[in-house]
């Protein structure tokens, strides 16, 4: 796919995600929008997975550890045919449906139910090690948040992945610089995060998480890297793509109202 096509796909993801949270008055659109460009690249040829191969032992695994940001992942999966788009639009968060407000393994294409932060990376390590030990060759990608990395379990896994040379593991840190009650630097500052992770022994790549070419290059770097796990620090903007949502903590919680929805859809055309 061309960069232009991937940008259009990212926009489609954003439109769908915003529509989902608006329809159901649900939370976490900010973090869903910050990761949209990364998802668009992952589901445009990086991940070796399709609706037909969701159960293949050789499929790549993608773990969405920041599970509250489900709306953009559901959108990507719907737009790529893993789940039915109309069904998603109609039933997201509805009584009796499987479209939970945090990502759920009950849906095709989702490996792990998350939402309690700090669970994805250890499981991703287990999957990456499983590939190494079983001989079933695949890559494991794990999206984590920069608030999420407050959780100590991530740091246990960060040590582990280097010790066991998990070069088939790629972590993407969606560094949108905000967490539940404010700025990450004011709550539990982990900067300079690149230096810290590099000191642990990872292959660290820092990029603009909204630049499609930079995201693609980072995944190329990961695929050519040997003996160390890769940690992509994607500098992103919470709420990216909708002006009044950008860097606005309100949209960690609130869904756009009718008037805001019109502006959002206009900006995401």
């Amino acid at each position: 796919m061309t960069i232009k096509e991937i940008q259009e796909f990212a926009k489609d993801i954003r439109r769908t995600a915003v529509q989902l949270v608006h329809n159901t008055n649900t939370s976490h659109i900010g973090g869903s929008l910050s990761q949209a460009d990364i998802l668009a690249v992952l589901y445009s040829g990086i991940l070796n997975i399709s609706p037909e191969t969701v159960d293949s032992p050789l499929r790549d695994r993608f773990i969405e550890s920041k599970g509250h940001c489900c709306s953009s992942l559901y959108a990507a999966l719907a737009l790529r045919g893993f789940i039915d788009r109309n069904d998603l639009m109609e039933n997201f968060c509805r009584n009796g449906s499987l479209y939970f407000e945090h990502v759920s393994h009950k849906l095709p294409g989702i490996e792990l139910s998350t939402g309690s932060l700090g669970h994805g990376l250890p499981v991703a390590c287990g999957m990456a090690l499983g590939s190494k030990r079983s001989g079933n060759r695949y890559n494991v990608f794990c999206m984590i948040g920069d608030g999420e990395i407050n959780e100590g379990s991530n740091w246990e896994a960060i040590m582990f992945a280097v010790q066991h040379k998990l070069d088939n593991l790629c972590v993407i840190l969606d560094k949108n610089k905000m967490q539940a009650l404010g700025c990450t630097t004011e709550i539990l500052n982990l900067d300079p995060i690149a230096d810290k992770i590099r000191t642990f022994g990872w292959n660290v790549i820092e990029i603009d998480g909204h630049d499609i070419a930079q995201i693609q290059d980072a995944f190329d770097n990961f695929r050519n890297n040997k003996d160390t796990p890769t940690f992509i620090i994607a500098n992103t903007i919470k709420g990216k793509g909708v002006s009044f949502m950008e860097n606005n903590l309100k949209f960690h919680y609130s869904a756009p109202n009718e008037a805001e929805m019109k502006i959002a859809m206009e900006e995401l055309k």
């Binding site: 250890p122 499981v123 287990g126 090690l129 499983g130 079983s134 379990s153 246990e156 896994a157 582990f160």
Partner: protein
């Protein structure tokens, strides 16, 4: 118990390439036979139980039947949310194995005494809770676990427990209650875990007119067996365990009896006496036997 566990696990691993053992930097002079025989299916993750449990889930999702192994509360309470979310919710094929049930590590203090683990884990959906009472039960449960495709907690004593059973029933399966002594007495003792030998000893030494059963699974419980025991002992049941009274085997049995009585499946509501730890941490040091007596865990 742990010796029988590792011996049987090695045996199973010879026949089943899916069996994988993950340890949290514990198991000196226990896990070596497995590590030497199957280096590609052994892993010491270090002192990091949350990661150990998440890794086990990830390995299980890659096709392995994974055993996590550590002592006391480390593989259970320390990482209870990983057990709940990553293992149980996903029905991942992981067996959580803890050595040091109850006061096994008595002298190491309350931090190392596993006295709330049954309650914590039995409340989690999809978890089977196995509590072997002697080395033969440990061996049989390890064999059963190797062929069970789903999450299970295996609560072992430590090393050197006496064999209580003269033999194990061939058709022993998940949930079964085992009969040690059934002479038609009016009172039945149901022991959970390695305190089984103490129950047997007390009955013999004090010449108590009690039948004796072992309950090697707190969850699930074979209801028909429990009903039969309850209805055939007119003076009631005594449940003995090395665990907090509020949430252990005694609680599980009472819940089961209560539900059966309420639904009409059980004809009488038996008198149940519970011998368990009475909502306290013991303030003093001592051997396992000493602490059992201080806590009132005797017939």
């Amino acid at each position: 118990m742990r010796t029988k566990f590792i011996k049987q696990l090695v045996e199973e691993a010879h026949h089943d390439k899916r069996i994988f053992l993950v340890v949290g930097d514990l198991g000196y002079h226990v896990v070596e036979p497995f590590a030497e025989a199957f280096p590609e299916r052994f892993l010491n993750v270090g002192i990091a139980e949350q990661n150990m449990t998440g890794i086990a889930a990830g390995l299980a999702m890659s096709g392995y039947n994974v055993y996590t192994y550590s002592i006391g509360n480390f593989p259970t309470l320390r990482c209870i949310e990983q057990i709940r979310n990553d293992i149980a919710y996903h029905h991942a094929n992981v067996k959580v194995v803890a050595v040091g049930a109850g006061y096994s590590y008595a002298g190491l203090g309350a931090t190392h005494q596993a006295t709330e683990d049954i309650g914590a884990i039995r409340s989690i959906p999809n978890m089977v809770v196995a509590t072997p009472g002697d080395p033969l039960e440990s061996e049989a449960i390890t064999r059963i676990s190797a062929h069970y495709n789903g999450p299970m907690y295996i609560r072992l004593g430590r090393a050197g427990e006496k064999i209580v059973h003269s033999d194990m029933p061939q058709d022993f399966k998940i949930g079964d209650i085992l009969t040690l002594k059934d002479n038609g007495q009016a009172t039945a003792v149901i022991a959970c875990g390695s305190i089984l030998d103490k129950a047997r000893q007390s009955i013999e030494e004090k010449n108590l007119a009690h039948d004796l059963y072992s309950i090697p699974f707190v969850k699930p419980i074979n209801k028909m067996q429990l009903k039969q025991i309850a209805e055939s002992h007119s003076s009631g049941l005594i449940i003995m365990e090395e665990h907090q009274k509020s949430c252990g085997a005694g609680s599980a049995i009472i819940e089961c009896l209560n539900d059966m009585y309420a639904s009409g499946e059980l004809s009488i509501y038996p008198k149940v006496r519970r011998i368990a730890i009475n909502d306290e941490f013991l303030p003093i040091v001592g051997s396992q036997d000493y602490l059992r007596n201080i806590a009132g865990l005797s017939l």
